[in-house]
């Protein structure tokens, strides 16, 4: 088994990869399950974001990784799954089983729901908004999440402006009771 730090990192990577999955970085990549083509949350910087102190979750990461692996062991035992001892238990789960476990941890009523939802929120943010980087810089660097979502570069001053923004056509009848203030009656 790897060092504590490696266990923590690969466990959290596997969690991030369950939220926004991606393709394996190299042959034998265990943390990333390879459930989706193209980069996912891990390559988008999930671990970097989770290690950003401003999130407020950083100090809890060792505990969360440990707890996730404990849950994975119980999950596997309940289903008679044989886990590869060369990986942390959550990493050793298949993508389908990781997903099922994360669903149960984030479901209404789970006593630890808040922590797992926070972790999922920041993993998602690493992909959809790159909250660990200046947005314009992230786009310039080719951040995979922002590019996948269709972001384009801002103007030279780092601000977005869209001079063309409207079909400029009447596209529906107004409600017949609209008042002069433009409000409903």
């Amino acid at each position: 088994m790897d060092s504590d730090e490696q266990v923590k990192v690969s466990t959290l990577e596997a969690y991030a990869d369950t939220i926004v999955p991606g393709e394996k970085r190299f042959p034998g990549d265990h943390a990333i399950a390879g459930a989706s083509p193209g980069p996912g949350a891990v390559v988008a910087g999930a671990l970097e974001l989770l290690h950003t102190e401003a999130t407020g979750v950083t100090v809890g990461l060792p505990y969360l990784a440990q707890a996730l692996n404990e849950h994975a062991k119980i999950y596997a035992k309940e289903r008679d799954l044989e886990l590869d001892k060369g990986s942390p238990p959550f990493v050793a789960l298949s993508f389908v089983d990781r997903t099922a476990l994360v669903r149960s941890l984030t479901a209404p009523g789970h006593p630890e729901k808040d922590g797992w939802v926070s972790l999922a929120l920041f993993c998602n943010m690493s992909f959809d908004s790159a909250a660990h980087k200046h947005t314009a810089e992230a786009i310039a660097e080719g951040h995979p999440g922002l590019l996948a979502m269709g972001y384009t570069a801002p103007d030279e001053d780092g601000l977005w402006r869209f001079p063309k923004f409207s079909y400029r056509r009447e596209l529906a009848r107004l409600h017949p009771d609209t008042t002069p203030s433009g409000s409903p009656a």
């Binding site: 979502m149 601000l159 001079p163 409207s166 009848r173």
Partner: protein, 550 residues
């Protein structure tokens, strides 16, 4: 500020509920101090950036509750700095609602007609503008065309935006870099400052106590300007009158925490919270079908792909704002933009297998983000939110240094609320999926509960002491000299964006507060013009002010 500071009026919060009385009372001659727990940001500090620590997270608060999460402003100017500036007036039937109490829940003196002159004052003061089809974004236009295609109407919404200055960047939630949004930083607040009002940013009020001479002492913490979890100081300030306008997610918490010193709070403090019946649906537009069926195309040849272009909501469907329909079956459906981060995590894959909010299918719809169309449902809920025990400071246990916290609000939607949501969801689906134009799904309520950007009613006005915390003049029952003038005072869901109604109620509350100050020996008058000097709105309410709040 030292421990013995004294003033005529302390106002807690600088959103609509705080800035409007701050201006009028300062203009009338009162000494006014506004305590705002968030930072005071200048226009040049409003960034187009999702980096944690940018203006997006400095000015915003996201408080996760049990069954309901609340988004709100956290800066000088409050919600007006981060909101999307849609300013419709509430429809007539809203004022006749019974809600959960079986009888009219608004004070008998308040109807759309009696509030109209106060709406006019706000409209003059911000100002509010009507929009035409040349102003609406691609997303708004697409929503209008979809409504029309299914035999419905659609309206460009009135807004507090200067469309000539707007660049359609869709970064309104981080504050407007171009001063196009007419936030309170552009009207009431500079006018209040010009009349001598003091604004203290990063001052988070903890509690209020009554002191020997009948005045009130307001206890505050000073919070760090970057890490809002950290306290850098504390103090008190005494005042003859206290106005609490910390927002519906925070006002009741301050009063709950003050109960030990002030005495028993009215039963309705921290109860009857409404999320304005809000719910979101995300549609994935089929670009080619829209071209074929609706004939829409942009100048550059694209059909839509413009989720990220615009200025929040621009077009709403109001066909179900029909007073002849039963309560809980009336709602508006408004096109909205929601930024990434908080705006994608809850969106669900239409027709997908569970889980629908994360995983491989979710990633596939994220790749179509520019073809998303978000529809905002504002329905009639049942005021079922209740605040639990207050956290040690503020209104939440802060998790992140900014924005994210865990609060004591519990919201368990009743069958009435669920019924309204399901009708509105079905209507959305009917409009959006007709002829294969889109696929749509509501946001999940299973992750952070339901979700509101318009918290209301947690300390509301009313005629009945059992179900309203405030007299119809916004004074806290059994605690003379304490007023609540913010979203907490609105009795219930409005079926439209509430800022206009919150602001109108705040305007209407001012003459009563002037009277309370005069009764306490403060030489203050009522009758200031609009912040830009216009007197049109003042003329309209001049006579009304004699009876309002009496």
């Amino acid at each position: 500020m030292n421990a013995h500071d004294q003033t005529d009026v302390v106002i807690v919060g600088s959103g609509f509920g705080g800035s409007i009385p701050a201006y009028h009372l300062a203009a009338g001659g009162a000494k006014v101090t506004v305590l705002e727990r968030g930072p005071w940001l200048e226009t040049k500090e409003f960034e187009h950036d999702y980096l944690l620590g940018s203006s997006y997270t400095r000015a915003f608060d996201f408080v996760v509750g049990d069954g309901m999460s609340v988004l709100g402003g956290n800066c000088v100017g409050g919600g007006s700095v981060v909101y999307f500036a849609a300013m419709p007036r509430a429809p007539k039937f809203v004022f006749e609602r019974h809600g959960s109490i079986g009888r009219r829940m608004w004070p008998s003196v308040l109807t759309r007609d009696t509030l109209e002159p106060w709406y006019d004052r706000v409209s003059d003061s911000l100002p509010v503008s009507t929009q035409d089809w040349n102003d609406v974004s691609y997303a708004g236009g697409l929503w209008a065309a979809l409504c029309d295609h299914s035999g419905r109407t659609a309206n460009p919404a009135p807004v507090a935006v200067d469309n000539d200055r707007c660049v359609n960047c869709n970064f309104m939630m981080a504050g407007c870099r171009f001063d196009a949004k007419r936030s309170l930083l552009t009207n009431y607040l500079p006018a209040a400052l010009a009349h001598g009002a003091k604004i203290r940013p990063l001052h988070e009020v903890q509690r209020i106590e009554r002191i020997d001479d009948g005045d009130y002492r307001v206890h505050f913490n000073v919070v760090d300007d970057t890490d809002y979890r950290a306290r850098t100081g504390s103090g008190t300030i005494d005042a003859k009158v206290v106005i609490i306008a910390a927002g519906a997610g925070a006002t009741p918490v301050i009063l709950q925490r003050s109960e030990a010193a002030l005495g028993t709070m009215p039963h309705a403090v921290g109860r009857y919270f409404s999320g304005n019946g809000e719910r979101l649906n995300t549609a994935i537009i089929d670009e080619e079908r829209v071209r074929e069926v609706l004939g829409l195309s942009r100048e550059d040849g694209k059909v839509y792909e413009a989720n990220h272009i615009g200025k929040g909501p621009t077009v709403a469907n109001w066909d179900k704002l029909d007073g002849s329909l039963p309560e809980y079956e009336r709602y508006s459906l408004e096109q909205l933009y929601f930024p990434p981060g908080l705006g994608t995590i809850l969106a669900q894959v239409p027709d997908g297998d569970e889980p629908r909010w994360f995983g491989a299918q979710k990633k596939e719809i994220l790749k179509k983000w520019s073809s998303w169309l978000t529809i905002f449902l504002m329905t009639e809920d049942d005021n079922e939110g209740v605040f639990g025990a207050p956290p040690p400071t503020g209104n939440a246990y802060r998790i992140s240094q900014q924005m994210l916290g865990r609060g004591p609000l519990k919201y368990d939607p009743t069958p009435n609320t669920l019924h309204g949501w399901s009708l509105a969801d079905a209507e959305c689906k009917e409009i959006l999926e007709k002829d294969g134009l889109a696929k749509v799904a509501p946001w999940t309520n299973d992750v952070v509960g339901a979700y509101t950007v318009h918290p209301l009613a947690s300390c509301r006005i009313g005629d009945d002491p059992e179900t309203s915390a405030l007299h119809p003049n916004h004074e806290l029952r059994n605690h003379p000299g304490i007023f609540v003038t913010d979203s907490a005072s609105v009795p219930g869901a409005l079926t439209v964006n509430p800022a206009m109604t919150i602001a109108a109620l705040a305007e209407r509350s001012v003459p009563g507060i002037v009277r309370a100050l005069r009764a306490r020996g403060v030489d203050v008058t009522y009758g200031a013009p609009a912040p830009d000097g216009s007197i049109t709105g003042r003329r309209a309410v001049g006579k009304l002010s004699l009876v309002a709040g009496s």
